[in-house]
């Protein structure tokens, strides 16, 4: 059962990732991204990381994709024509680089198979909100607070950048 679920979520993640990259319409790419995030959340559930699955749906599939869609609607982009139609040297190099990255990662993975131990017995307990919150608010309290500063700075920075006119240009 878990194997079939893994195959389902893995194929969904792969298919939607390819759709995001190859779709001509930006809106369709964003909608494929929603399903990609949801399938990744499903994979987290299979790994018994319940808290991260919920956060993935809330933050990625919720907030981030809505932000993408909002910007796409705001800019009113039309569809791209001829995505891969004309063969260019740039695309060839890009595909070669992508294949090279994949080969390198799979080679690194292949040389490590067998070294990895089986799943630990205590994996049932670690993904819960209780376990993560316990560690987050004791050992990692300072990084957690720094994250709050980071998010505040990001919001202020985004507002500053997206502002219609900067003050220096008014004069």
């Amino acid at each position: 059962m878990i194997t079939y679920l893994f195959l389902f979520f893995a194929l969904l993640a792969l298919g939607t990732a390819i759709l995001v990259v190859t779709n001509k319409s930006t809106v369709n790419s964003a909608l494929a991204l929603v399903f990609h995030m949801l399938s990744i959340a499903g994979l987290y559930l299979l790994l018994r990381a319940q808290f991260l699955a919920v956060v993935q749906v809330l933050v990625y599939a919720g907030a981030i994709v809505v932000l993408f869609l909002f910007v796409i609607m705001l800019l009113n982009l039309e569809k791209e024509e001829k995505l891969f139609a004309e063969f260019s040297f740039r695309h060839a190099i890009a595909f070669f680089a992508g294949i090279a990255v994949l080969a390198q990662l799979l080679y690194a993975l292949g040389s490590w198979t067998g070294v990895l131990p089986e799943f630990a017995d205590q994996m049932i307990a670690i993904g819960t909100v209780e376990a993560i919150g316990d560690e987050l608010f004791t050992t990692y309290l300072l990084p957690f607070e720094v994250t709050a500063i980071l998010l505040t700075a990001a919001v202020v920075g985004a507002l500053m950048i997206a502002q219609r006119k900067l003050k220096s240009q008014d004069k």
Binding site: I18, T26, S29, A30, Y60, A94, I99, L109, P117, Q122
Partner: protein, 100 residues
Amino acid sequence: MIITSWYLALSAVLFSIGVIGVLTRKNAIVILMSVEIMLNAVNLTLVSFSAQMGDVQGQILVFFSLCVAAAEVAVGLAIIIAIYRNNLTVDITKINLLRW
């Protein structure tokens, strides 16, 4: 039983799809989406290792990575809006202000 190698192979393939997306697409918004796919692939690796080792720290790292990704998207999309306002395009081949 699904072993960790399957998850690692899946995230390697997803990361490569993201790399190809970043390198081939011209639309800046789709490039940001491809970066999100790459971030997700790395998060999947962290969670699968965390589940295998029975260690919660990998999942906490994923939590921080999520926060950084949210900040990155907010600032990145703001930059895209600012560029669009000046150039009326998000095609990165036509944006050449800082290119030599």
